[in-house]
Symmetry: C2
Subunit: 173 residues, 2 copies
DNA sequence: GGCGATAAGTTATACTATAACATTATCACG
DNA sequence: CGTGATAATGTTATAGTATAACTTATCGCC
C-alpha cells in the first residue's frame, strides 16, 4: 500500500475547487458500484453528494435536514440506511469521535481510515500510512489480538488554523 | 515513555483476581487526587469503582442504573459529571466507538489511551506504545498538524476468544 | 457563623440511532 | 408482458446518549 493523505485539500477548503472533489467522488462511486454490482440509487447518490458538501464530517441529522430541502419530510432510517450502504461500500468513513461521516477520497482501495481532525475549522483529512498500519498490526499481533477494524482519529489544529490563531481558537487578547 | 499493555489482565477477566485491580485503582486515584488538590468525592469514587467492575467499557446509563441501586433515583447529569471529572483527571478513558468508559490502569502518567477491544468478550486492553505514539506524531507533524488528542481503537478478537471460537462468535455449524 | 466556591440535585430537552412493519421499485425468468 | 422474489424505501414508534439551565447542598476558609 502506498502512503496517502488529503491534508492539503481537506484543510484548504476555502481555496481549492471543491466542486471537483465532489464530481470526482461521485464518478468514482458510480464506477465502483457498477463494478461491484451494487446499486447507487438516486437517494444514496444524493446522500453521498451531501456528505461531500465539505471536508468536515457531517452528522446524520444534518444530512436529514439537507435532504428534507429536496424531498419533503424524511425520517431518520432513510438517511441511516443510505449511510450504512455507503459505509459498507467504502464510499464514506464514520468519525467515531464526532458521530459524523466524511467522504472517502480513495474508495478504490480497501483501507481503514485514519484521520486528522481540526478543532477549529472542523475539517478531517484522511491519512493512509503503511507505517501506522504496520505498527498497529504488529503490536496487536504480539498480544495475540486479531484486528478486524481500526479507528485512528487525531484531534488538534491544522496547519492553517494554527497559523491564523496560534493560541488555538481563544479570542485574541 | 515505556511500553505498557494490559492484554493479560483485561482479556483474562475470569481468572485474575479482579478485586485487586479495583482496590489498586481506587488507591491510586485517592493518592493522585490528593496530590493534585482535587476532590475525589464519595460519588466520584463510587462511579470510578463501578467503571472498574470489569475490564469491559461500561456505558453512562449502565452506571446510572448501578448507581440507582445504592442511592435512590439518579439523573443523567450526576453520572456524566462524575465521568467528566474522572476523564479530566485521567482516571478513566472514553471508548469512542462504544460510547463507553473504562478504567485507566496507569493514571500516574499522562497519556493517550490506545485500545484493543474484543468483540466477543467485550474487554478493552490498554496499550501504551512509544512506537505508535511516535509514528502518529511524526506523520501528523509532517503535515503541519498539531495533535492535542488521540483516539486509537482496534476492534477484533482477543487471544482467548480466538482460541475458543475461531470463527469469531457465530453459532457453531 | 457567614461567605465564596465547588459539587450535587432536578427538570427538561437535544441529539443519535434502530426496531418493526408497510409499501414500492427493480430485475430475472418464464 | 406479467409475476414473483429480492432489494429499497417509507412510516411510526421508541431506544439510547448527552447536555443546558437552574436550584440546593456542601466544603473550606476567614
Amino acid at each position: 500500500m502506498k502512503a496517502f493523505d488529503t491534508a492539503e485539500t481537506s484543510f484548504d477548503s476555502h481555496t481549492h475547487d471543491h466542486r471537483r472533489c465532489v464530481r470526482s467522488a461521485l464518478q468514482t462511486a458510480e464506477a465502483l458500484c457498477q463494478q461491484h454490482g451494487v446499486r447507487l440509487t438516486a437517494l444514496r447518490r444524493r446522500v453521498l453528494e451531501l456528505v461531500w458538501t465539505s471536508h468536515c464530517p457531517v452528522g446524520a441529522y444534518d444530512l436529514l435536514e439537507m435532504l428534507s430541502k429536496d424531498q419533503g419530510r424524511v425520517a431518520p432510517p432513510t438517511v441511516y440506511r443510505a449511510l450504512e450502504f455507503l459505509l459498507a461500500n467504502g464510499l464514506i468513513h464514520r468519525i467515531e469521535s464526532r458521530n459524523a461521516f466524511v467522504g472517502c477520497p480513495h474508495p478504490q482501495e480497501a483501507h481503514a481510515g485514519h484521520f486528522l481532525i481540526c478543532r477549529v475549522c472542523g475539517a478531517a483529512a484522511e491519512l493512509s500510512d503503511p507505517g501506522i498500519e504496520a505498527t498497529l498490526d504488529q503490536r496487536a499481533g504480539e498480544l495475540g489480538f486479531f484486528v478486524e477494524a481500526k479507528t485512528v482519529e487525531l484531534r488538534g489544529l491544522c496547519k492553517g488554523c494554527r497559523a491564523r490563531r496560534p493560541d488555538g481558537g481563544e479570542q485574541s487578547a
